[in-house]
């Protein structure tokens, strides 16, 4: 059940998206997000949808893998949709007591839900096609280019966090089973009793996370890890013509989204 979370996973491959420089991918991701939030009408969304599908197709990641990644976010997406549908003022199309649906709300709700879905899609696509090492490397270089202090440390923290998501999930399942073997019940009962039933799960989980962090820090120190200063790389990142081409494409994407916002 918890294994369905795809955020932070990497699926090896040789697709054009896999081959891109991680810096390109990170920067283009930011541009994509800006473009996504610029779009505010139907034709704009159609364009973004096609663009997103194209990237997925190019990455050769099965659509199903990405769709499965939405599962843990369904609640948030639904909440966004429902809040917008019922809370926006405008032309009423359906009413029941104090509940009313408006055209504007429906539109806004669907747009916001789509935004969230595309955001998750494209972010998980980044981690699905980039090894954690390449990802940190890229992130560090991007942050350094903006003169961010502690760029290396930040990037390192992020990779470690990503790296440990699957481990934590596994650990959670294990502890859950162990407590279920002692008669614990995580599924039934009211909200309060359910929250309370999480204590036997959360306490051991926190403890094991601290233990793991300790061990990892020790292992890193034992191999003389000392942060970012004057660190050299085994594999130097190299921008290729395909990276410049990708930048070109993303600028066109930005252009079209801008155009769709003000001229349609």
């Amino acid at each position: 059940m918890l294994k369905d979370i795809t955020i932070g996973q990497y699926i090896p491959g040789v697709s054009p998206v896999h081959k891109l420089d991680p810096r390109t991918k990170i920067i283009c991701l930011v541009f994509y997000m800006v473009g996504l939030f610029l779009v505010n009408n139907f034709s704009g969304y159609v364009f973004v949808t096609f663009f997103t599908l194209l990237i997925i197709f190019l990455s050769q990641i099965p659509l199903l893998t990405i769709v499965k990644g939405f599962k843990p976010l369904i609640l948030i997406i639904l909440l966004t949709l429902i809040l917008h549908v019922f809370m926006t003022e405008g032309e009423v199309i359906w009413q029941w007591g104090f509940l009313k649906i408006t055209w504007e709300g429906l539109r806004q709700g669907i747009f916001m839900a789509l935004r969230l879905i595309y955001l998750v899609t494209i972010t998980s696509l980044l981690t699905l096609t980039t090894t954690p090492i390449a990802l940190t490397d890229g992130l560090e270089r991007v942050l350094k280019a903006f003169h961010m202090p502690l760029a290396h440390e930040l990037a390192m923290m992020m990779t470690i966090a990503l790296r440990f998501i699957p481990t934590l999930i596994e650990e959670t399942e294990k502890i859950m089973k162990a407590q279920m073997a002692r008669g614990a019940d995580f599924e039934s009962g009211g909200l309060l009793s359910r929250a309370k039933s999480l204590i036997p799960l959360l306490v051991p989980l926190f403890l094991s996370s601290f233990r793991r962090a300790d061990e990892l820090a020790m292992a890193m120190e034992a191999r003389c890890y000392r942060g970012g200063e004057k660190r050299t790389r085994l594999k130097q990142l190299q921008m290729m013509s395909r990276d410049y081409f990708t930048f070109f494409i993303i600028f066109i994407f930005m252009g079209i989204t801008l155009y769709s916002r003000w001229f349609f």
């Binding site: 089973k177 002692r182 614990a184």
Partner: protein, 291 residues
């Protein structure tokens, strides 16, 4: 009364790219009062198998029956079955969470909805079973204990459910030799008191010393289900599966290889000692008769 598995298949992540057939056609009957060992390489399906017995995992195909109750049924009485089948996971001390030893061991009985006096009785008995002093330990925080003590408290947490069948998944992993011997001795004692025990282990020495019957798993199948002594006579086959035989048994094999006339189905140090002494005596006798 017994544990019965009928043609059990289990497939992990059915329908995805990661689909793996973890169990294939498992047929197994474990009777009350038995002491069964379960060995196999990492990933052979041992843990998956034992989790079927108390309903933590439901089979993709087949039936699991504990004391005439079908665990695998859609609406199985899981609470009752989990009380009956105590499962001690690997590194069980990682599941400790309460502020005191007493509270932690009481977690299981509380979930069963027992009365306070009964819970206290259960905790007392469970601590006694793992040879920890009730008065001394009950108010301590489980996190201040030593590794071996923590593990014993965690095992007591399962014993407090008063299970009829006890399954232990590598109960000695990561313990020092003394801690290991103590835990094993306590498990043997529990069996003598009438508990049915299934011991999952990587240590051939432990299995050889304790169990009468031994299951060998390989790639999701039970390859051998025989008397322990018999199973360890398949030295080469076991090695092919990446498994080993007990150290003393190996010693006897190599002695035999050097021309000593010793039995090879020896499982314990005591037996080995007797066998070697006899062989030496015989050799001396032969030499004297030559001279």
């Amino acid at each position: 009364m017994s544990i019965i598995l009928e043609a059990v298949d289990y497939i992990y992540q059915l329908g995805s790219v990661h689909e793996t057939n973890a169990l294939k056609g498992i047929n197994l009957v474990i009777k009350e009062g038995e002491f069964v060992g379960l060995i196999g390489h990492t990933g052979s399906g041992k843990s998956t198998l034992v989790q079927h017995i108390n309903g933590l995992i439901k089979p993709t195909k087949g039936k699991v029956i504990v004391d005439d109750q079908e665990v695998s049924a859609k609406r199985g009485k899981l609470k009752e079955i989990r009380q009956k089948v105590g499962l001690v996971f690997q590194y069980p001390e990682h599941q400790l969470f309460e502020e005191t030893v007493f509270e932690d061991i009481a977690f299981g009985p509380k979930n069963l909805g027992l009365a306070a006096t009964e819970i206290e009785k259960r905790v007392k008995k469970a601590l006694q079973m793992v040879h920890l002093d009730y008065e001394k330990y009950r108010t301590l925080s489980p996190f201040t204990l030593s590794g071996g003590e923590k593990r014993r408290v965690a095992i007591a947490g399962v014993l407090a459910m008063d299970p009829k069948y006890l399954i232990l998944d590598e109960p000695t992993a990561g313990l020092d030799p003394r801690g290991r011997d103590e835990i094993l001795a306590q498990i043997a004692e529990l069996h003598q008191q009438g508990m049915t025990v299934i011991l999952v282990s990587h240590s051939m020495d432990d299995v050889a010393r304790l169990t009468k019957r031994l299951l060998v798993m390989h790639q999701g199948e039970i390859i051998y289900d025989q008397e322990t002594r018999q199973v360890f006579s398949y030295y080469e086959k076991l090695q092919e599966m990446g498994l080993d035989i007990p150290t003393v048994t190996k010693l006897m094999h190599s002695l035999k290889g050097q021309g000593w006339s010793v039995r090879q189905d020896v499982l314990t140090v005591e037996e080995a000692k007797r066998e070697i002494l006899q062989a030496v005596k015989q050799a001396v006798k032969e030499e004297q008769s030559h001279a």
